[in-house]
Symmetry: C2
Subunit: 207 residues, 2 copies
DNA sequence: GTCTATATCCCGATAGAC
DNA sequence: GTCTATCGGGATATAGAC
């Protein structure tokens, strides 16, 4: 029984999760360098030495958190499927991504931090994991365009703009709050935002 | 002659500029906490004590850099003027903002860092300096909409999307480079990006 | 696995001579 | 204005007992 395949998470698995959650919370507010392991341990309610027992270094902890985040980040892309119409697919994608910006603002911010740093940890993963998905989605767009279902756009540029506008609600939340005094937690502002972004992209692809 | 109003910058003015430039460069790559005054001083070719003579604390230096950045950031907004047609104004704004993302990527990234941190330093300035300009521009949009020159959009949401898509080229440059292997320094990619973003927003406001 | 104690290093900032 | 020397604090990480 070298590597037991249990369905119920072990005690140490649960502890790792608690630590990861605490790390995400703090790293996403102050950046990696702005947050100390002391505070992460405190937040996770473990001793610092114990934390280091589970994650041998700060870099290792940071990398673990980031990999979790990347996985979450990829989920909404599944909506972009040739089985759907482009209008449905894009509307669904936008709603899911803005929902993600509301419910996982910390993950979005941490991702943004990492990219600002120049993607030192995630750089390779972007090519290994994101690039293939992106090429796949670009092919779906090409299919929709070729079959006259949507206007011709550069799929890469189109995806960049989709990411930018939807993540903006998480990454620039404090600016939006300073200027509009509104949050995605306000259901009216949430729906308003979804409607606005959806209208922006659907107008563009009208055949 | 208490405060001489000279046009030629004094030696100390020039030194302050060199320090600010070095601080911008380092803060925008690693965040404030990730960069040390030691390295800023080294980059600016002054001793650390001398740096501290000009800027008494790291926070003061950071605040000074940020205020510079905010001023730069506001410039392109001047294009949004009721004297122009909305199409001209928006196209001009987009080109200027993407040019800014190319030529001042470090300033854009530092701004992004500050917002991610929750705008601890710039928070007040956003209300004092950006909010009035934004309200003014919202009025211009309202005028264009009322006179049938553009389709009805929420001006605030519209500006957020404009900022998001254009700044994305600076803030997420390392992601774009990992996926597209292209940079705004490539004139073809630059023009392609301007054309894409412009088409996106002009399609939306078609009356 | 978890703890206490501690090594080691770097950072921001100050003191005081010149 | 600029320098050398240094303080004091906090950070990551390790050693070793239990």
């Amino acid at each position: 029984m070298a590597t037991p395949l249990r369905k119920t998470p072990s005690k140490s698995d649960r502890k790792r999760e608690v630590i990861l959650a605490a790390a995400l919370e703090l790293f996403s507010r102050s950046g990696v360098d702005g947050a100390s392991l002391d505070r992460v341990a405190e937040r996770a309610d473990v001793s610092k030495t114990n934390l280091i027992y589970y994650y041998p270094s700060k870099d290792a902890l940071y990398a673990a958190v980031l990999n979790n985040v990347l996985s979450l980040w990829l989920v909404p892309l599944e909506a972009i499927d040739r089985a759907n119409s482009p209008q449905e697919a894009i509307a669904t994608y936008i709603r899911q991504k803005i929902t993600f910006s509301r419910d996982h603002a910390d993950a979005s911010r941490l991702f943004c931090f990492e990219i600002l740093y120049g993607a030192p940890v995630l750089g390779g993963r972007l090519r290994d994991r994101l690039q293939p998905v992106m090429d796949e989605k670009a092919a779906v767009f090409a299919h929709w365009i070729a079959s006259g279902q949507m206007a011709a756009v550069d799929p890469y540029q189109f995806l960049y703009s989709l990411w930018a506008t939807t993540q903006h609600f998480a990454d620039f939340a404090s600016q939006i709050e300073a200027l509009s005094r509104r949050t995605l937690d306000d259901p009216a502002f949430f729906e308003e935002s979804v409607a606005h972004v959806t209208a922006l992209f659907l107008a563009r692809i009208r055949p």
